[in-house]
């Protein structure tokens, strides 16, 4: 049996062979461990918030602490977990294998990206304990509060800046890799749709993140030097800040979801033993989402005071961006139709993804319409929407991909019944936790408040209990995945009988990925 990449003789001994590796597979695992650790932190913050909100009038923390909690929850979950999320972990590990490459185009920049990520994360965490205390601005850092508050905004924001740089460099790396390192015969149309998704996502990472970078830098410069660029007292325009912030942060949500869509698109053909329906449409829709995603950021700002003309334009464009996502959902359903379905855990999580993402997406339309937006902006409706698309969508898709590629990455198989049991807890807990929020928001409960009127008690209680059920599901799922590392059955090279290239090498792969670079003669979902 070939030695896997775990047993490679590295330039540096022991743990340093991991911390200073240039092997994309090891780097993918470094990201996996670190992003999941931050996820655990984010979950704890969320559970604490839900505990505070279990009943009207009851407090376990102060209002100031609550503000810092939701700020941190957002910063950690968004910048430290889900944006790096799939691209940095699964993308790093799997994409080069799928295109038949030995590694990414710039392996040293790859590990630099991880170190930037870790450093940025460390700085963001440090901001909790130094200076004026943890930021309380919300993860959106809106002006003027973010330039007036005494809390540790600059340090946290600089941490995010470094994480952004990490993301940008990864995008650059992956694009060059896909352009230059595809195996012979691997035409664009023979790439997996996961790789297509990583390709589209990399463009967003490359082009949108710098706008965030300059916005964050301007906050720091404003706090230190008072230049006045956003300060309304000096002529600055807080709405312009919102523009610049969302010019990045809207495309950012497509960084979160597109790779997840790519993962489930790879899973569906394998578990229905049928070629994917609409390969070209799905590939094109990834690119379309990436492009149109740049045009809709104003829908986060409908109540900010921007012009009516621009509100109408952004609302129209927002409805447009739903179309390519719809194309994907239809194609997935059509791919499953009359397939020979095996309801393995990856497919179960995929189905959960499709259902929850669709709810999230449809409620996005409610928010995209100007009149209804007025009613729901700043309420729990928005909170429910984005948790459905990000958590029910991107994260569920991440879990699907994690289970699907688990045997490839670790050479072991997880325990199927536990995976399914976890799913049940996750699905039930998730809907209890977040569907209640649709109700609360519609009834008028504002977000980012540490207390609420007694009439909101019922759904809040359901929501908090839902958070415990969800947490239970996460515990079962991660227990399963971690425990199976040690006691799982050996997986074999291709336990799913998949056709894409990563499954044509051993599990786990050797350091150089393939003994000989394969010559590709058929499509990625061609099971014949």
């Amino acid at each position: 049996m070939e030695a896997s990449f775990y047993h490679a003789k590295t330039r540096y001994p022991g743990i340093f062979g991991w911390l200073f590796t240039t092997d994309h597979k090891r780097i993918g695992l470094l990201y996996l461990i670190s992003t999941l650790s931050f996820f655990a932190v984010g979950v704890s913050l969320g559970l604490t918030m839900r505990l505070e909100l279990i009943r009207s009038g009851m407090h376990i923390i102060s209002a100031q602490t609550y503000n810092s909690l939701f700020t941190l929850h957002g910063v950690v979950m968004i910048f430290l977990f889900i944006i790096p999320g799939i691209p940095a972990s699964l993308g790093n590990f799997i994409m080069p294998l799928q295109i038949g490459a030995r590694d990414v185009a710039f392996p040293k920049i790859n590990i630099l990206s991880w170190w930037l990520f870790i450093t940025g994360g460390a700085l963001a965490v440090t901001s909790l304990f130094t200076g004026g205390g943890p930021p309380d601005t919300g993860w959106t850092f809106y002006i003027p509060y973010s330039i007036r508050t005494g809390t540790n905004v600059s340090l946290a924001v600089f941490g995010v800046f470094l994480i952004g740089l990490s993301s940008t460099l990864t995008g650059m790396n992956f694009l060059t890799t896909i352009y230059r390192l595809r195996a012979p015969g691997m035409t664009w149309k023979r790439m997996t749709l996961f790789t297509w998704a990583i390709y589209a996502t990399s463009w967003i990472q490359l082009l949108a993140t710098p706008v965030l970078a300059i916005t964050l830098l301007l906050i720091i410069i404003e706090r230190f030097f008072g230049v006045g660029i956003f300060d309304p007292a000096k002529g600055g325009d807080p709405i312009l800040f919102e523009h610049m912030f969302w010019i990045y942060s809207h495309p950012a949500v497509y960084i979160m979801i597109v790779p997840a869509m790519g993962a489930v698109t790879d899973i569906i053909p394998v578990f229905s033993r049928k070629n994917i329906f609409g390969y070209t449409a799905i590939a094109a829709s990834s690119l379309a989402i990436a492009f149109v995603g740049y045009l809709v950021w104003g829908h986060h700002m409908f109540t900010s005071g921007m012009s009516d003309t621009s509100r109408i334009i952004f609302s129209f464009l927002t409805f447009l961006v739903a179309v390519p996502s719809g194309v994907k959902v239809y194609s997935w359903i059509a791919s499953l139709y009359k397939g020979s379905i095996t309801l393995g855990a990856p497919l179960l999580y995929t189905l959960g993804f499709i259902f929850l993402f669709s709810i999230g997406g449809l409620t996005g339309l409610v928010q995209g319409a100007l009149d209804t937006n007025l009613h729901v902006h700043g309420t729990y409706f928005i909170v429910a929407h984005f948790h459905y698309v990000i958590f029910g969508g991107a994260v569920m898709g991440f879990f699907a991909g994690l289970h699907y590629w688990y045997p490839k990455m670790f050479g072991k198989m997880y325990e199927e019944h536990l995976a399914k049991l976890a799913w049940v807890f996750l699905f039930i807990g998730f809907n209890m936790l977040y569907f209640s929020m649709f109700v609360l928001g519609w009834e008028g409960m504002p977000r980012r408040y540490y207390d609420y009127l007694p009439r909101f008690n019922g759904p809040n209680l359901v929501s908090t209990i839902g958070s415990w059920v969800l947490a239970m599901g996460l515990i079962i799922m991660f227990y399963n995945l971690i425990h199976s590392l040690f006691s799982g059955a050996n997986a074999g090279d291709n336990p799913w009988g998949a056709a894409s290239l990563e499954w044509q090498t051993s599990s786990p792969p050797p350091t150089e990925n393939f003994k000989d670079i394969p010559v590709v003669t058929k499509g990625p979902y061609d099971f014949k």
Partner: protein, 96 residues
């Protein structure tokens, strides 16, 4: 490892010098346009001249003329992105 033969586009020194002289002339032109004090039309003229200068630098100094077609196509991606961002933002600024 060797560079591929196709990359050996030997640009003669004169080309670079001519481009440099053109850039200097355009710089002079843009100063003149500003001194004509046409108000905001001066700015339009100056941005146009700046774009001409930038194009010369991109095409010759940055070797874009001799690069693969992919590079020539890709350069439009950030340009279009920045343009879209500015235009969409101005729908707010102009009509507030």
């Amino acid at each position: 490892m060797e560079q591929k033969q196709e990359e050996r586009a030997h640009v003669p020194t004169q080309v670079f010098v001519i481009v440099w002289i053109a850039l200097l002339c355009l710089t002079g032109l843009t100063i003149k346009a500003a001194q004509m004090k046409m108000g905001e039309w001066s700015m339009v003229a100056n941005i146009a001249i700046a774009s001409a200068k930038a194009s010369l630098v991109l095409w010759f100094f940055m070797h874009l003329k001799y690069e693969k077609r992919l590079f020539k196509l890709l350069i439009f991606v950030p340009i279009i992105t920045v343009s879209i961002i500015i235009v969409l933002t101005f729908f707010d600024i102009w009509y507030r």
